[in-house]
Symmetry: none
Subunit: 256 residues, 2 copies
């Protein structure tokens, strides 16, 4: 749309390949040297490109700063929600999204079951950290010292006979979860409620969130619930992809 800006922006991927001097930039843009110079100067003023000692240009650190800052403001929930809604659309059960923060795991989004029998939960509420599938996924991915510290600091309430009894058992469970890349909670919190979860990962591969599908026994058994695992994992992976920016996800309307 805007020729000048367009040209300026085309310089960036060009420099991403490696440093280039003025003439090379001008040639590859198909413009006069003086034009390229002015564009590069403007980019330079904004820290988008940097001029090394040999006068060649390369990408600047401001790009870095911008991306980093944007990543911090990135709302997983916003990105995840449509995916979670779609998942709920297909399976009908309650879908949760949770994050880890300062030794706690919190639900930050929820799409309600479309069955009449529902489990109780509330966005913003701390999760039963010792048993919930999402909690296991998030803790499993913590750096080992912190994971151990948290596990040992926790209480292990016996919600049911299948609740995790103590730190040792929990750490074992976390190892399993880390290995298999998904988690379950079969009646560990409420006798009659089962749950499966999968992690959402950021660019660095660390779990930034986890999502889960929960359903009461009376609606589906554990075997039937596990059949949803591939779908759940695909959903989690799609969210990860969009969150890390590997997918230019937002399917924009094409011009007619």
């Amino acid at each position: 749309m805007s020729q000048t800006v367009d040209r300026a922006l085309r310089i960036l991927p060009l420099l991403a390949e490696g440093p280039a001097n003025l003439e090379q930039v001008a040639a590859r843009l198909g413009v006069h040297k003086s034009t390229a110079l002015r564009l590069l100067r403007t980019l330079h003023e904004h820290g988008m490109v940097y001029r090394q000692q040999d006068q060649r240009y390369r990408l600047g650190t401001r790009l870095f700063a911008l991306a980093q800052q944007a990543a911090e403001n990135l709302d997983v929930r916003e990105i995840a929600h449509p995916h979670l809604a779609a998942l709920n659309e297909r399976c009908g059960h309650t879908v949760h999204l949770a994050v880890y923060e300062d030794g706690e795991v919190l639900y930050i989004d929820k799409v309600e079951s479309r069955y009449p029998v529902r489990m109780y939960s509330r966005i913003g509420k701390p999760v039963a950290i010792t048993v919930a599938a999402v909690a296991k996924l998030l803790l499993a991915d913590l750096p080992e010292p912190e994971r151990r510290a948290v596990a040992e600091r926790l209480d292990y309430p016996a919600y049911t006979a299948r609740s995790t009894p103590n730190a040792a058992a929990y750490l074992d469970e976390l190892a399993t979860v880390r290995e298999q890349g998904w988690a379950t909670d079969f009646g560990g919190h409420e006798e009659s409620i089962n749950c499966i979860g999968a992690p959402v990962r950021g660019t660095d591969g660390r779990a930034v969130a986890a999502c889960s599908v929960s359903a009461p026994n009376v609606v589906v058994g554990t075997a039937e619930l596990l059949e949803l695992l591939p779908l759940l994992r695909r959903t989690a992976d799609a969210i990860s992809a969009e969150y890390s920016g590997t997918t230019p996800p937002p399917l924009q309307k094409a011009k007619p």
Copy 2:
């Protein structure tokens, strides 16, 4: 230099703060809505901004990709990282790597403290240039006219009672740092955080980067932190050696 490109680029940091709609962007740029629209469209075509469902704009994924490539071009970072990780392994504190670029000092890598109490920082974020140990090291090594120019252009915010008060004091401090070859920041930025730093030098002896160890008072005192100085300097020197090519650098792990 180029008004149009300048306006377009000013949109990016604006969006980095969080999503904004067309009117907000236009208002903050001080231009008409239609102008802002065209700029945003151009940015959009290049993937620099992204339009969410509610029509608001936020930074796009292309920016992340570019930042990634920009980071890869900073080869100090790549070389330094394993050394920094090893340093963190041995002392447990937060380790930073920073570079100087166009009057700013930026963190380009970070290895998190393994203690529960951590300092806040972010890769890509400009460093508190008047007080940070890494900033002192990098400025101390600038050619004298540029050093003076930068020092006199800076603000000297009084973060704490121990912050550098003015340009004269800063230039004195830089002289000391240049002489001793290492730097400190004892509570100059945050009252309770101390920090020691050492320079990474290129073939020409100039500081191309600086690394530092930071720790809160509550974890280690200044005396104890200074005991880490030899280890820190050895780390910095090892990075320098590998970066200048004096060490047959990437000693690959032998396959078992």
